[in-house]
Structures are given as structure tokens and as C-alpha cells.
């Protein structure tokens, strides 16, 4: 079912315009000092030459979403009633220009929200109505390590289509049925002739990345028996510098933790779900005032544990990290999660 098409560079604008008529189209846009997915508007300048600062996670899994609205009412007998108004989001969303790691991130979240007995309807509905075209990476960016966690610069898992930027245009390969959305246009020419160039590009890109990574090339899921994992001093040694902000989790394509709050006004209110971060003190704060993870060391250990130990344990050795490197690239104090995991895997020093 694989289909291949080619789009000339000069046609991209026209192409995106047509695409935006099919649904809400999101493209990476340079907003000054950051690249961010925004709704495509005519004239928006799409930015494909560098990795987006924020992954497109929020398009499908918004930072805060209203689950439902509620209204307070009273019946005849002055008894309080609550009227609930469900939110049903069936909008079609198209993401153009994600990176392969970003798409892979959705697969991690899918496991939790969809591949379960009690799927999350809000996420599921959005995910099913979304179309993702990922752009393959030519060169590694600072902190990239997708190949170390099973991905790759041309990896297509989680994407409906894969785009390779060539000199004269874009090679678009549909990877799923939904992917044909990106090809069924008159603007698209047959693309088979360009396949070879693409493969060369792929090889080159993978080479550059593995050279860049050196010995960090492969990260395995952590063994639950990893000794250092429970060693407070280990975490102190490596994470004293962590300032415990939520940047790493909020920029992460695979982090999906959330919090649910009711924002109540006098006569009405809403239940909202918003991203939360395991790096925050309040994440595990219990109503009693007790907090099982009161300090940043315990919190960071949880983050590493979750991505490289607990999640793989539950989901057939799949690491909950797509190696996009954002948490390393943008960490204010340059905490390097690769280094931490690598150190954990090393035999313990005596």
C-alpha cells in the first residue's frame, strides 16, 4: 500500500493551502527564538530546516483541555443539581513537518491512552482524526540520539507519511492508509525516481548521527535490579545541578502525565486536564501534606525510571523515549539524560 509522490519546492505553498482545506493544518513556524507548531495561515512561513523547539504533541494532546463543562442548577425543591455538558472534539487535524522522533512519541502515548481496556476518549478521538507527515532528518541536532533508543532519522513509526527533503523538492511516502491524504493532489508528481537519492540521504544521515553519538549508540531498557538506581548518592552526584523545572517533560514528545482540576465559578465550571510534570513538587503532593518524592533527586529518578524501566517493563521492552534530545538541548543546566542512563548501566564502582 506504500505510495510515493514528489512535490516540487516551489509548489509547497500551494500544496499547504490545499492541505489546510482538508482540516486544521499545523506546520512548524519560526516565532522568533523558537520554532513551534501553529495553525497554518496563508502566508505562514514554514520552517523545516531545523527541529521544532516544541514537538507537535500539543496538537493531539493539548497542554490543557476542557473535558467537560458543568453548570449548577436548582430544582423546584431548591436542591442543587449539576448539569454536565460534554465536549466532543471531532475536528480533523493535519500535522505537516513533524520529525520522525515526534511521531514516534505518539506511539508511546498511544500505548497508554488507546491500547488499553479503558481508552481515553479525548485522546483517542483526536488521535484517530489526525494525519501526521514527518520530515526525515538530514543531520543530527545537538543532543539527538534517536538511534540509541530504537528510532532513526528516517524512521516512520507513528507517522502517516514520511517526507524527505531533496534538492529540487520533497519526496512524500505514504506509510499508512491515512497517509494518502498527503498524496491525493494534482500537485503531486510520481516520486519513484527519487527513491535512490532518498536512500543515499538516509545512509548519510544515519552515519552522521552514529558518528556524533560515539559510544552512546545504544541504550537498553534498564534492568529493575540496577543497583545505582536506588543509590541516593548516585542521583546526588549526577543531579545536584538539576533545577527541577518542567522544561524537559513539557518539551518531551513522550511525556503524557496530567492533572485534572475543576475550575469552579459561582454558577458554572469546567473540568480541565492539563499537563503535569513529574519534576514538580506538587506532582506527588498528597492531601495530607506528605510527599513521597519531596526532592528533585527522587523526582528525577522517577523520570528516568519511568522512561527506561517501568514503561519498558509494562510495554514489551519499549523505551518511553524517542531520542529527540530536546530535554538535553534546552535544559537550562544541560542535564544529559543519556549520560545518566549510561552511567546507570555501567557496572557499579566500588
Amino acid at each position: 500500500m506504500e505510495r510515493i509522490g514528489f512535490l516540487k519546492k516551489e509548489k509547497i505553498e500551494e500544496y499547504l493551502q490545499s492541505l489546510s482545506k482538508k482540516g486544521e493544518l499545523y506546520v512548524p513556524v519560526d516565532v522568533g527564538r523558537a520554532v513551534k507548531f501553529e495553525k497554518y495561515l496563508t502566508g505562514s512561513s514554514i520552517c523545516l530546516d531545523r527541529p521544532p523547539t516544541l514537538p507537535p504533541k500539543s496538537v493531539i494532546y493539548p497542554q490543557s483541555e476542557r473535558l467537560f463543562k458543568f453548570k449548577f442548577k436548582k430544582d423546584e425543591g431548591n436542591v442543587d443539581l449539576i448539569e454536565i455538558e460534554e465536549v466532543e472534539d471531532t475536528k480533523k487535524r493535519i500535522i505537516f513537518g513533524a520529525r520522525p522522533c515526534d511521531s514516534a512519541g505518539f506511539s508511546v502515548i498511544d500505548n497508554v491512552f488507546i491500547q488499553t481496556d479503558t481508552p481515553d476518549v479525548y485522546y483517542e478521538r483526536r488521535r484517530m482524526n489526525s494525519f501526521i507527515a514527518a520530515k526525515a532528518c538530514d543531520k543530527p541536532s545537538a543532543g539527538c540520539f534517536c538511534i540509541a533508543v530504537g528510532g532513526g532519522p528516517f524512521d516512520d513509526s507513528g507517522s502517516d507519511a514520511l517526507i524527505t527533503e531533496l534538492e529540487e523538492g520533497y519526496l512524500i511516502e505514504a506509510k499508512t492508509e491515512k497517509g494518502s491524504l498527503f498524496l491525493d493532489w494534482e500537485l503531486i508528481e510520481p516520486g519513484d525516481d527519487h527513491l535512490e537519492k532518498k536512500l543515499k540521504k538516509k545512509e548519510e544521515s544515519e552515519r552522521l548521527l552514529s558518528e556524533y553519538l560515539g559510544e552512546l549508540k545504544k541504550i537498553e531498557p534498564l534492568d529493575p535490579k540496577t543497583e545505582s538506581f536506588n543509590d541516593e548518592n548516585f542521583w546526588k552526584r549526577h543531579l545536584s545541578k538539576c533545577i527541577s523545572c518542567g522544561l524537559c517533560t513539557y518539551l518531551c514528545p513522550t511525556c503524557y502525565c496530567f492533572n485534572i482540576t475543576d475550575e469552579k465559578k459561582i454558577f458554572e465550571g469546567e473540568r480541565i486536564r492539563s499537563w503535569d510534570s513529574c519534576m514538580f513538587f506538587h506532582f506527588t503532593l498528597e492531601a495530607s501534606g506528605h510527599n513521597p518524592r519531596p526532592d528533585k533527586f527522587k523526582r528525577f529518578r522517577n523520570r528516568v525510571g519511568h522512561k527506561f524501566m517501568f514503561y519498558p517493563e509494562k510495554y514489551s521492552q519499549l523505551i518511553a523515549c524517542c531520542g529527540c534530545g530536546r530535554c538535553i538541548r534546552f535544559c537550562p543546566v544541560s542535564v544529559d539524560i543519556r549520560e545518566v542512563v549510561f552511567e546507570l548501566q555501567k557496572p557499579r564502582r566500588v
Partner: protein, 314 residues
């Protein structure tokens, strides 16, 4: 470098902990380095990428520590002392006279975030080698904005000093020209500017946690429901609320180290708001943060007769 390591060793013997820098995951990223063992001293560095204000770790650190500070960072220590957040006898300060540091974010953007494999600095130029090519830049073009208007290149407080004193020709007015320029814009433009900038905020709180003076950290009211100043919704007004909390709580306390702005992943000019307040603090109370240990932060004191605060007419 030899001098640096010698000084660190000397201080380490006294404190058993020195907070300094080492090289990070690539050549253009330095990372804070907690020296707790003699052997770690070898890794310590000071270069143009040692951007962090290490003072952020000091308040509530339960042990005596040595710390490295640039001129700008040193103001933080004075502010801490003013507010009684640290005790002078608990820190040993190694001050570094600084000619400016590199805006790493700017450099990464210049090289399109391509992975950097090497840098070499030669006089005023810097060669940056990425996985695919090599580029050369003028150092001045990559200098952090705060360094261009630095008035305190030399540490204002220290026990040990490294480097020759650096002269600054920046005046107060020059340092705040950006704010005055911004204020010339019409009110509506200012509102739409912040609507756009604050609209980008993802409330990751990196700005807050990177700020050495944001001492509430885990207890920040931007996250609590008691008091419930703001909800977790990403509505613009809630984001505004967070930034107001941040700015108001730093009134008369921000030392303009710029860590908030540097930490922000989406590039909100967070520091501008604090600079604006500092400008007013100077105007109203002739007060400048982090200069004099004996000063009192103006929001926590008062005068019965305020020379500069006039009653407002309607």
C-alpha cells in the same frame, strides 16, 4: 585554567564542596559541576560557555560551599545577604572578572541546531564545527545581550579573585535604553507584544526555577490551589498571571542575571519585565539590587515620607 583549579583546590580543602562548571554534552554547553571529591576538580573549567548563575543552588543548601561567580552573578550573593537567605560565613566566593559570555541559544540558532563537534576560539573570532561543516563567527555577534550592557564585569563580593579587572563603559541609562525604547510604543502595541510573547509560554517554569531569587521554588503560588491565584489552564490570562506573579515577587530583588530569559525554551523576554521594575526602583527609591549588603529591598521597608511617591490625582 591552572589558576582556576588551584583556587578551587584551595577552597575545596576548606569546604568539601565547590560549585563550578565543567564541559557539558557538547563543546558549546558547559554544565554546573558540584565538586564533592578531590578528583572532580580536574574537570572544572571556565570559558565563554559558563553561562549559568550558580548562585541558584545556594539558598537552603545545608552545607558550607565554595562557589564561582562572574561579576553579574556576584550581585545575587549580595542580594541573598541583604535578604538573609545565606550566611556569609557559609560561602567561600571565587570571583571571576568576566569579559562576557556567549549566548548559546543564539549560537545554536545560527548553526540551525546542528550538533556541534568542536569549537576553537582565536582572538575575536570563534570557529564552530558541526557534523556537516565549519563556520566562523565574530565573538561580539554571539555575545549574550546582557553582556553588551554589563555594568559589573568584576565581582562585587569575593574571597578569591581570578582574572584581571575589566572596565565597563556602560552607564545606567545605556543599560536601560531597551526598556525606555519599548515604553515609547503605544499602549496597545505593548499589550499585543506581551500577548504574543506570553502567549508562547508553556508554563514549564524553567524561568522561575533558573532564577536564583525565586526562593519559593516548589511552593510557588503559580501552582497551588491554596492560595488559588491561577489555574493550570493555558488561557492567556492565566499565563499572564504567572508572569505577573514572577515579576511582582521579584520587585526590587531581581539582579538581572538573565537566567530566566536564557532558560526559557520559547524565547519569551522574561527579563524585560524585571528590568522595568528595577528601573522604577531606582527612580523611586534610588535603589539598585545586589550592590550593597546593607541595603534593604524596597518592598520590605518604607519611609514615612516618600520623596518620590506623589499622591495620584484622578
Amino acid at each position: 585554567m591552572v589558576e582556576l583549579k588551584e583556587k578551587i583546590s584551595e577552597v575545596f580543602r576548606d569546604t568539601n564542596l565547590v560549585i563550578c562548571w565543567r564541559e557539558g554534552f557538547d563543546p558549546i554547553h558547559a554544565t554546573p559541576h558540584f565538586v564533592r571529591e578531590e578528583s572532580q576538580i580536574e574537570d572544572s573549567i571556565f570559558n565563554l560557555f559558563c553561562v549559568h548563575n550558580l548562585c541558584v543552588y545556594l539558598p537552603f543548601l545545608k552545607e558550607k560551599a565554595g562557589i564561582l561567580v562572574k561579576g553579574c552573578d556576584s550581585r545575587t550573593l549580595i542580594q541573598f545577604l541583604q535578604e538573609g537567605l545565606i550566611r556569609r560565613e557559609d560561602v567561600v566566593i571565587i570571583g571571576i572578572s568576566c569579559r562576557g559570555i556567549i549566548d548559546v541559544g543564539k549560537l545554536m540558532r545560527e548553526v540551525l541546531y546542528e550538533a556541534v563537534t568542536g569549537v576553537s576560539i582565536d582572538g575575536d573570532s570563534i570557529k564552530v564545527k558541526t557534523v556537516s561543516r565549519e563556520r566562523e563567527f565574530q565573538l561580539t555577534s554571539l555575545l549574550a545581550d546582557k553582556c553588551k550592557i554589563c555594568r559589573y564585569p568584576n565581582p562585587l563580593i569575593y574571597d578569591h579573585l581570578i582574572g584581571e579587572p575589566v572596565e565597563s563603559k556602560v552607564s545606567w541609562d545605556m543599560a536601560y535604553e531597551d526598556i525606555r525604547e519599548f515604553e515609547k510604543k503605544p499602549l496597545e502595541d505593548r499589550l499585543s507584544f506581551w500577548t504574543k510573547e506570553i502567549g508562547k509560554c508553556i508554563r514549564c517554569y524553567a524561568c522561575r526555577n533558573a532564577c536564583p531569587l525565586c526562593i519559593c521554588r516548589d511552593r510557588c503560588i503559580a501552582e497551588t490551589r491554596d492560595p488559588h491565584f491561577t489555574s493550570q489552564s493555558v488561557e492567556l490570562k492565566e499565563k499572564f498571571m504567572f508572569h505577573f506573579i514572577h515579576a511582582v515577587h521579584l520587585a526590587g530583588r531581581c539582579v538581572e542575571c538573565g537566567e530566566c530569559e536564557r532558560a526559557c525554551p520559547v524565547g519569551i523576554p522574561v527579563k524585560m519585565m524585571k528590568k522595568k521594575i528595577n528601573l522604577e526602583m531606582k527612580e523611586l527609591f534610588d535603589y539598585e539590587t545586589g550592590i550593597n549588603v546593607d541595603d534593604k529591598p524596597p518592598m520590605y521597608t518604607f519611609k514615612a515620607e516618600e520623596e518620590k511617591i506623589k499622591e495620584h490625582e484622578l
